[in-house]
Symmetry: C2
Subunit: 449 residues, 2 copies
C-alpha cells in the first residue's frame, strides 16, 4: 500500500534528522494521517515531529492524536508552547483556568477544538455528558434581521471562521432568539444586496443544550442537515453541531446497542484502551444475572428427572431446543431494536408486529419441526410418540421465541427502558425456560403417562 | 406534541378543500415532514395535496415520500406532470428511456434525485449495487487550473446548483483528472482574484465508482469530510457523495451487522415493507444450519447417557453451562465485530486480543465458578466432587468461549469473510459442544471412574 511506503519515508527522514524535507513531506499529508503516523512514535520522536509540523497544521494534527500521545506531548513541551496550544486545544489542567475566563476568551479557546475535547470542556462548563451542549461548537456564523447577503459574506471574512461551520447562516433577533436560517449556497446565488430576512428558511429545526445526542443524531439524519443549531432553555442561540461529529455519535450509539444486546455494559474507551479490570467489570454483572436466571431452566430439568432416566433422547434434545429458541428470539428482537432505533417501529405497532411474528414463527416452527421429526424417526430411530413430543416442543418454542423476542423490546421502549437491554440474552433465558417446560410437561403426559 | 396539532390542522384544511390556506401551511413546513404527513393519505387526498404543494417544494417532497406513495402518485397524475417530475425525479418506467438519453440530459434528470432513486438510476447505468457509483450525485462544482475565486463563484451562480454539494470546489485538469480541491469557505476568506490553483489542498481523498459503500463511509467518517469525490477507472472525476447520504450508509451497514450477528439474512426493505415469505426466507436458512450443528451437542449428551442416569445434576447444569458459554462468546465476538468495523482492531492484533481475552476469561470464569460451587454445595447439597466438576467445566467454558469469540471474527476478517457472520450464533453452537464435552469427559472420569 501507498501509505505504508509513505510511513517508511517518514521514518527515514525522521531518524536521519532531515527536518526541512520532513516538513515538506508532512505538508502534503492529511492531518488525520499525520496523527495516525504519530501514534507509534516514542516521546522523543513525537516531540521532534510535532515541532517540525507547519504551524497551521499542528493544532489540527493535535486534535486528531489519541489521548495517550497527546498527554505525552503535553508533558514534554514547554509552558509557552502549551499556552499556544491552549488557544485551540484542550489540556486537562486548563479546564479550571478556562472556567474563570470571560465568555469571549472561552469562545476563543473552544475554537478549533476537536469534538472530544470540546465535549470535555463543555461538560466542565456544566453541560451533561452526551448532551447536545457537550457536542456543540460555538464557532458559527450568526446574522441579524437587518443584514443583506454582502454583510454576511463580510462577517465570514472578518471573523475568519475557517471551517465548514459557516455553511449555514443563523439569524437571531435582539434577544438572540433563533428566528431563521439561510443556507450559504442560496446566498451565493442571489444579488449581494438581497436582505437575508427575506431569504430565511421556514421551520427551524433546533435542539436544546440538554437534549440527548441520540435525538440530535436522529434529527440530523432525518432532515439531511449539515449542521443543527443548539439553543438554551430560553431559546437563545448558543452553538451548532456539525454533521461530521454526528457520524461519530451514530457509531457510538450503535456500539452501545451492540454491547447491550451482547450483555455488556457500554465501555467508555476503545477496546485496547480499556483496562483488564474494567473489561471484567463491564462483562461480569450481566453474566452473573443471566447465570442465575438460567438456574430456572435447571430447576425445570431437575423436576422431571424421572423422565430423563426413561429417555436419553430428551436430554439430548435440550441443546437443540435451547439453541433454536435462542436464535429465533434473537432474530426477532434484533429486528425490533433496529426498527426502533431507525424510527421504523414504535410501541403502537405492537399488535401488528406480534401478528407478523406469530405467523412467521408458525411457518418456521412448522418447517423445523417436520425436519426434526423426520431426523428423529429415520436417523435416531426414535419412538414415534417421543419424536412427536420433541418436534412439537420445537414448534412451540419457535412461536414463543418469536413472540417474546418481538414484544419485549417494544414493551421496554414504552417503559422508557433501552430496548437493546431487553433484547437477546434475557430473551434467550426466558425462551430456554419456556421451551424446557413445554418439552417436559408434554413428555410427562405422553411418554410416561 | 406540536406536530400532532399541525397534522390535525392539515387534515381539516384538506377535507374542507381550503387549498389556498393549505398551500400556505405547507410552505412553512419542512419537506421531510410534509412527506411524512402524506404517508397516511389515501390516493385521492395524496394527489390533491401534491397539486396544492408550491412548485418549488414538490420535487423535494416527492424525493422524501416512501416508495408505495410515490407509485400511487405516479399512477394518478397525468403524462405531462410525470414528464415535469422526471426532470428531477426517478420513475421506474423512465429508466430505459434514460439510458437512451445523451449524457447531459441524464445529468439534468439525475439532478435533485434522492439517494435511493439516484442509486437505482445509477445502477441501471451499470454501477454495481452498494458501490460508490450508485450513491453519487453528479451535481457538484468543478473548477479548472486557470480559474480564480471570482470565476468559481460565477460558476456556482451560473449553474445555479442549489445544494450543499457546492461547498467543495473540485479542480480537474484538461483530461478531467482530479488534481485538487478547495473548500468553499476558504475561497470566501481571500481576495476574489486569488488563483484557485494556489489554494488547492494537498492529499486528495477520493473513491472509485466501483468501491464499496462501506469504504466510502469509513473515509468520510475518518477524515471528517462533507463530501468525497468519485473518480472512474482512469482517475477522471465523475461525481461526489455527500455526507448526509453517508449517514444512511452507516446505518445500513450497522443494520447489516446486527442482522448477521442475529443469524438473519440482511433484508432489503424496512420491517413493515418485508413480506411474510421474505421474512421466513431471511431467517430459516441459518436456523436450519444452526439446528443441525446443535445436533453435535446432542451427540455428546447421548454418548454419556450412563452418566446422566447417575446424576440429574449434570443434566440440570446443561442449560446454565450453555447459556453462560453463549453469553461469554457473544460478549467477546461483539467487541471484535465493533472493533473491526470502527477500524480499532485488525487481524494483526490477534495474539494481543487473545492474550487479553484469555485473562479476562480466567478472572470471570473463576468468579462464576466459585459462585456456582458454593451454590451447588450449600443450596443444592451436591456431592463435592460433582460440584467441582460442574464448576470447573463452567470455568473452562468461559475461557474457551472468550478465546473462540475473539479469534473467530478476526480469522473471518482475514479470510475476507464478514466478521459479523462468524460472530454470535455460530460461536454459541461451538462453545456449547465444547462445554458439554468438557463437562462429560471430566465427569466420566471423576464421578463414575
Amino acid at each position: 500500500m501507498e501509505w505504508e511506503k509513505i510511513k517508511i519515508r517518514l521514518d527515514t527522514l525522521l531518524s536521519e534528522g532531515r527536518h526541512g524535507l520532513l516538513r515538506g513531506a508532512l505538508m502534503v499529508l492529511n492531518p488525520v494521517d499525520v496523527a495516525e503516523y504519530m501514534q507509534d512514535l516514542d516521546a522523543e520522536k513525537l516531540l521532534l515531529l510535532f515541532r517540525v509540523l507547519p504551524k497551521d497544521m499542528s493544532a489540527e494534527v493535535f486534535s486528531y492524536m489519541d489521548g495517550d500521545q497527546r498527554e505525552t506531548l503535553v508533558n514534554s513541551i514547554g509552558d509557552a508552547e502549551i499556552t499556544a496550544l491552549i488557544n485551540d486545544m484542550f489540556v486537562d489542567d486548563a479546564v479550571d483556568f478556562l472556567e474563570e475566563l470571560p465568555a469571549n476568551a472561552v469562545k476563543r479557546v473552544l475554537k478549533n477544538t476537536d469534538p472530544k475535547t470540546r465535549a470535555i470542556i463543555n461538560q466542565f462548563l456544566n453541560y451533561p455528558d452526551n448532551s447536545a451542549g457537550s457536542l456543540m461548537t460555538i464557532e458559527y456564523c450568526e446574522v441579524t434581521k437587518g443584514m443583506v447577503v454582502q454583510d454576511a459574506l463580510k462577517a465570514i471574512r472578518e471573523t475568519g471562521v475557517d471551517k465548514e461551520t459557516v455553511y449555514t447562516l443563523y439569524m437571531v433577533d435582539d434577544q438572540r432568539h433563533l428566528i431563521g436560517y439561510i443556507p450559504l449556497h442560496k446566498a451565493l446565488l442571489v444579488d449581494i444586496d438581497t436582505p437575508l430576512y427575506e431569504m430565511r428558511e421556514p421551520g427551524i429545526i433546533s435542539v436544546k443544550t440538554t437534549d440527548d445526542q441520540e435525538l440530535v443524531a436522529d434529527l440530523v439524519r432525518k432532515y439531511h442537515l449539515i449542521s443543527i443549531p443548539v439553543v438554551d432553555g430560553e431559546g437563545r442561540m448558543v452553538g451548532i453541531i456539525t454533521s461530521d461529529d454526528i457520524m461519530d455519535v451514530i457509531e457510538e450509539e450503535n456500539t452501545e446497542d451492540f454491547e447491550k444486546m451482547a450483555a455488556l455494559a457500554p465501555a467508555d474507551e476503545p477496546y485496547f484502551r480499556t483496562s483488564l479490570l474494567e473489561m471484567v467489570w463491564n462483562r461480569l454483572p450481566w453474566l452473573m444475572i443471566l447465570m442465575f436466571t438460567s438456574i430456572l431452566s435447571a430447576a425445570i430439568v431437575s423436576k422431571y428427572e424421572n423422565l430423563l432416566a426413561v429417555s436419553v433422547l430428551l436430554s439430548a434434545s435440550i441443546p437443540m431446543l435451547m439453541d433454536t429458541g435462542g436464535n429465533c428470539g434473537q432474530q426477532a428482537s434484533t429486528l425490533m431494536v433496529r426498527g426502533i432505533a431507525l424510527g421504523e417501529i414504535t410501541f403502537k405497532d405492537i399488535f401488528k408486529v406480534l401478528w407478523i411474528e406469530m405467523r412467521v414463527g408458525v411457518i418456521i416452527g412448522f418447517v423445523l419441526a417436520i425436519v426434526t421429526y423426520a431426523r428423529l424417526l429415520f436417523i435416531n430411530h426414535a419412538n414415534p410418540t417421543l419424536a412427536l413430543v420433541i418436534s412439537f416442543s420445537l414448534f412451540a418454542t419457535v412461536v414463543i421465541a418469536k413472540s417474546l423476542g418481538s414484544v419485549l423490546p417494544l414493551l421496554a421502549s414504552k417503559a422508557k427502558f433501552d430496548p437493546a437491554l431487553a433484547a437477546s440474552p434475557l430473551i434467550t433465558t426466558l425462551v430456554d425456560a419456556a421451551s424446557l417446560l413445554i418439552l417436559f410437561s408434554i413428555a410427562s403426559r405422553l411418554v410416561i403417562g
